[in-house]
């Protein structure tokens, strides 16, 4: 496995820390005029998703992490695994529940997701920023009841629950921002 020197540190570099692949978010070179040089880095652990700060002596080397982002289309789930396909090569890959995590509720068939692979195995599945889903259940909004209620909960076909405006009804398709989990607009069928 290749190593990186602290001189190569920069945002986006993938390194191994405590046996876990990590993404460097920020790197700051700290060098007191008369002192030892250090690199202070902010790191996101890619499996536990923890963000932490770590200090290295400048010139130290760390193991690189074989981490790769790929764009794959979601196909289906067999109940245990979630299957994705590369639309160019038709190669398929299966992600387990741990990799999909909470993003399960944003998986829409044929949507292209970002799958992060570590040593060829999916560790995270990131849905597109916007997905379109059908409302399966929401209270019928009362006419005229529009003032300051902040909308109502709506359950979507994947089981996700989002707040929608009162005029949106069961059976309609809506656009949702997966990063915030917020309703964006209605979609014309």
């Amino acid at each position: 496995m290749a190593n990186y020197s602290t001189n190569e540190f920069k945002g986006g570099l993938k390194i191994m820390l405590d046996g876990e692949p990590c993404n460097i978010l920020e790197n700051e070179y700290v060098k007191p005029g008369k002192g030892q040089a250090f690199n202070r880095v902010k790191i996101r652990k890619l499996i536990s998703n923890k963000v932490l700060e770590k200090t290295f002596r400048s010139g130290e080397t760390v193991e690189s992490a074989d981490v790769l982002d790929t764009e794959l289309a979601y196909l289906y789930t067999d109940g245990e695994f979630y299957h994705f396909m590369n639309n160019d090569t038709f190669e398929q890959i299966a992600a387990d529940e741990k990799a999909v995590g909470d993003n399960l509720k944003w998986l829409v068939e044929n949507d292209v997701c970002t799958i992060t692979l570590w040593n060829g195995t999916p560790i995270t599945v990131t849905p597109p920023n916007f997905v379109e889903l059908e409302i399966t259940e929401t209270d019928p909004g009362l006419k005229g009841d529009t003032a300051g209620t902040g909308g109502k909960p709506a359950t979507l076909s994947t089981g996700a629950v989002v707040r929608v405006p009162l005029f949106v009804q069961t059976g309609e398709v809506i656009k949702v921002d997966t990063r915030s989990g917020e309703y964006v607009s209605r979609v014309q069928k």
Partner: protein
Amino acid sequence: MALQTARPGCLPTILILVMTSSASWQPTTTPCARQARAQLLRQIREFFYARNVLEVDTPLLSQGSVTDVHLNAFETDFTYGHLGKAQSLYLQTSPEYAMKRLLCAQSGPIYQLCKAFRHEGAGRWHNPEFTMLEWYRPDFDHLMLMDEVDALLQHTLGTDSGERFTYQQIMVRHTGLDPLTVTHAQLTDALPGLGIDIDAPESLSHDDLLQLIFAMVVEPRIGQHRPCFVHGFPAGQAALARISTQDPRTADRFEVYFRGAELANGFFELADADEQRKRFEQDNQTRKQMGMPSIAIDEHFLQALDAGLPDCAGVALGVDRLLMLKTGATHIEQVINFPVSRA
């Protein structure tokens, strides 16, 4: 306090965003930043002209260099030496030794604006080649020189006069650790509570640990509104400063911090040639233990000290960092036309 900007109407940040994505032959500075540099250099020269301090010029290439364990010089080969054989020359990490030779030759007060070189990484506050302002004041001690640095900052940045703390005061205030009595074990134990996560901290020296804590915990919290002068560094970090006659645990060394930048480092200068030789040799010993090359001791410098260095204080100030503060730059590349990545 409002920092003076180079010219009204300059929009450095927006332009920088455009520039940094530009082709690599292009400068990373804006026209405004270049104007500000020219203006700053003029202000510095005016400041010293008004105070009768002489501008001098000394070699950037020298046969000797600093032995300091944490300073690395670029080394180059000179094949046309006057002794008829090849010799190594170092690019200077600061013009200190040569300027002190001038002081020993009765130059009186002197300053220099020059390039300095350090073989180390680039970063937000660092470029391996940078502009340095260094000056020396016979008959000043470090406290008097702090007044003059303060005046220079007021003149160039329009700052309020700076605050002053001893190293001990500022460390106790921000970390609860007394740097003059704390043990090595207490320092390593304190790291997690201070938010510093580093492997094998026990392998760092006592002074490395103090510097790590100072850089990560103290520096970001001081000098946010006005320059902060810290003096009375632990004797282990004396470098070329005298040991204090009042408290031999400390050295007559000061540093200036302002808005996240370590801006200047000054000494009541060590004049004792024997003590100086001892410190050089000690450094080279430490270098050897750490598997680093030993550095040719600057004999011209030691001979000059033998001849007699007048009592004086001296300080080195990073001009690029000063310019960053003046222009509100967030990265040194915004004030250096061609940083090392484009040099």
